[in-house]
């Protein structure tokens, strides 16, 4: 019986082998989405815990890596929503220091506008606009359709422009 079949039947040794094989990819993906190494470490445990719990639902004929990445995307989004709620309560924003130069000041305002996006739109905007990922790859990694990525990228761009205008950046 191969590794994926053994994992689907709940074999812990098979799961450990898969963990060793995919841990780096999953953590790297979590770092990309959350931009926070410490959070990514904690989320890696959470993601593999979710993977193990869902072993009976895994189809051994499908890619384990793609499945793991989708579970990681959901965990990262849960984390970003939680952080957003806490940020909303505390209104933590990038600080504007008196010695900020013009360029730094623009960057602070852009980052503030970016952080105002809802987590799902922020993740799509980050991958599509900052990290230049093709829509197909974003769709695969987030477990959504290509048209959903396109629509979210469009909404993210629209909301970003509004937020930038509120920040006084218009051209």
């Amino acid at each position: 019986m191969d590794l994926l079949d053994r994992f689907a039947r709940g074999d812990l040794d098979a799961f450990e082998l898969l963990f060793r094989q995919f841990e780096r990819d999953v953590r790297g993906w979590l770092v990309r989405l959350t931009r926070d190494s410490a959070a990514a470490d904690d989320l890696t445990v959470e993601v593999f815990w979710r993977i193990y719990r869902a072993h009976a639902r895994f189809d051994p004929t499908r890619s384990f890596g793609a499945w793991a990445r989708r579970i990681a995307s959901n965990a990262a989004l849960d984390h970003l929503r939680r952080v957003s709620r806490e940020r909303g309560a505390r209104d933590v924003r990038p600080a504007r220091t008196p010695e900020s130069t013009g360029r730094q000041d623009v960057n602070v305002r852009v980052e503030r506008a970016f952080l105002q996006l809802p987590p799902m739109l922020r993740v799509v905007a980050d991958l599509a606009f900052v990290q230049d990922w093709p829509h197909d790859e974003i769709a695969e990694a987030l477990g959504i359709s290509r048209s959903a990525v396109k629509s979210r990228a469009f909404r993210a761009m629209h909301q970003l422009k509004d937020a930038l205008r509120r920040e006084g950046i218009e051209s």
């Binding site: 953590r27 445990v45 960057n107 852009v110 761009m157 422009k161």
Partner: protein, 73 residues
């Protein structure tokens, strides 16, 4: 009226948003995961026992439930 183009917004974002961090993880996480799996395996057992106890109690208090359960098992 907003005069920002999509390309301009992309450029602003790339300049303002730092690249994702590249530092390595803190240490081995398999032991923590293994511990969590073992803890998790024990919790459903407790829930199972609680459910069995609740059903037994219900059957003792209302014997008509036994007939209902037999019909649905």
């Amino acid at each position: 009226m907003n005069t920002l183009s999509d390309e301009h917004v992309r450029g602003l974002l790339k300049a303002a948003i730092p690249p994702p961090p590249t530092d390595a993880r803190r240490g081995e996480i398999w032991p923590a995961l293994r511990r969590r799996i073992h803890d998790g395996r024990q919790h459903p057992l407790r829930i199972d026992y609680a459910l069995i106890a609740a059903v037994v109690l219900l059957c003792l208090l209302r014997p008509s439930v036994i007939e209902f359960l037999l019909l649905h098992l």
